[in-house]
Symmetry: C2
Subunit: 209 residues, 2 copies
Amino acid sequence: MSLLMDNQFGELPVDKSVDTKFFLESVAYLPPFFDCLGSKVFVPIKSDISGNITKIRSVYDKDPAKYATLQQIVESEKEAYGTEWPKVGATLALMWLKRGLRFIQILLQSLADGEKDENNPNLIRVNITKAYDQALKKYHGWLVQKIFKAALLAAPYKSDFIKALSKGQEVREEDCMASVRQFLINYTATVDAIYEMYTTLNAELDYSV
Amino acid sequence: MSLLMDNQFGELPVDKSVDTKFFLESVAYLPPFFDCLGSKVFVPIKSDISGNITKIRSVYDKDPAKYATLQQIVESEKEAYGTEWPKVGATLALMWLKRGLRFIQILLQSLADGEKDENNPNLIRVNITKAYDQALKKYHGWLVQKIFKAALLAAPYKSDFIKALSKGQEVREEDCMASVRQFLINYTATVDAIYEMYTTLNAELDYSV
Ligand SMILES: CCCCCCCCCCCCC/C=C/[C@@H](O)[C@H](CO[C@@H]1O[C@H](CO)[C@H](O)[C@H](OS(=O)(=O)O)[C@H]1O)NC(=O)CCCCCCCCCCC
Ligand SMILES: CCCCCCCCCCCCC/C=C/[C@@H](O)[C@H](CO[C@@H]1O[C@H](CO)[C@H](O)[C@H](OS(=O)(=O)O)[C@H]1O)NC(=O)CCCCCCCCCCC
């Protein structure tokens, strides 16, 4: 049915560890999300996120047992890399990936909550801007922020975005949003768990690009 | 010595055919050129150009004898693809690649000719803008043009650009420009030959992205 519903994230266990294999499988369906934004200018973002996923997968593939959870990857790298860490390896890739995931989460949540620009109810700029401000802005220097502002003008109409999320089918906005809400449950829990882990392990950095 | 001089393009034969193997070898050294611009915002451009090169190489590798020259590739594809052509295959990749090559050519030529903003002699914005206007602007919609204008602000100082071109060594501007002039001879002839071929074979398109 919808792009997102086909690839639900799994429920987290009590200890909130994130299974690397399942995570990589679910997250592999997210780069096409940026195609839903409808413009080629989002290609570099899609590649950046795909690159993060490839990096994490290549570490996992080296020793699937050792790296069974995302926590185990980050902890092993902390041991292995000394002072280079955390700006290295899968730790760095996941640090950035989680920001892209948070961006998607906040954007979808804001749409599902019905937040809108009353004067332009078919635009999603307010929702994208909210997601950007909370998830990414502080990690971007003035130049990338400026490029974001320009790229925002390429954002699709809400109706087109919903159609794209629904794989090209015309669905009622309310039906699409019901799917989105369902998707967000495990997705948000997973993203939250990764953020908490970065705080707990002191793996977070706040340099900007 | 310099990034460019290490990888001179070969002299063209009288019929101006471009040897695919030599072309691919020489052009492989150009994506790092964008690192000389010094900012991460140029990464998407570097990937786009690298993607073009990979596409052409993958066609060549299928049958190096059949595709010995770039002309042979474009002519074979014209035969093979019917109405899809020329927006397809290595023909499309080379169509865009030549524009990136032209951009580099005009930028370097403008620097070598001493064109500058008299009020800001250590900036290269006038040179980049000239190259962009002549090589790319008409193939970009208003949004990408706007993003270009923002990205332009990330352009390096001339002195830093020259240092990067000279692989990090401090060289006199005049010595660097002598190398650039030398490099431009065969390089410009090659780029011109590719443009002529696209005109002759009716392979050029002017859609914008
Ligand atoms: C002709 C004119 C040409 C002009 C060219 C201008 C091009 C402008 C390019 C804009 C930037 C594209 C986005 C990419 C930004 C990236 O720079 C950042 C940091 O990227 C990280 O950097 C690390 C090192 O510091 C590692 O390399 C990470 O890689 S590693 O895997 O190796 O560890 C990598 O992800 N990622 C980010 O900021 C993440 C971005 C997520 C985006 C989320 C959605 C935003 C949606 C906006 C909708 C309106
Ligand atoms: C968080 C905020 C996020 C915001 C994200 C915004 C990102 C903005 C991205 C800007 C665009 C990056 C440049 C890439 C542009 C590309 O779209 C175009 C066409 O690209 C071509 O398209 C074809 C199909 O039409 C095929 O796919 C070609 O691929 S194929 O091989 O498959 O056939 C492909 O090269 N190439 C171009 O325009 C070529 C660009 C050459 C650039 C030369 C130098 C310019 C230097 C400027 C210096 C100041």
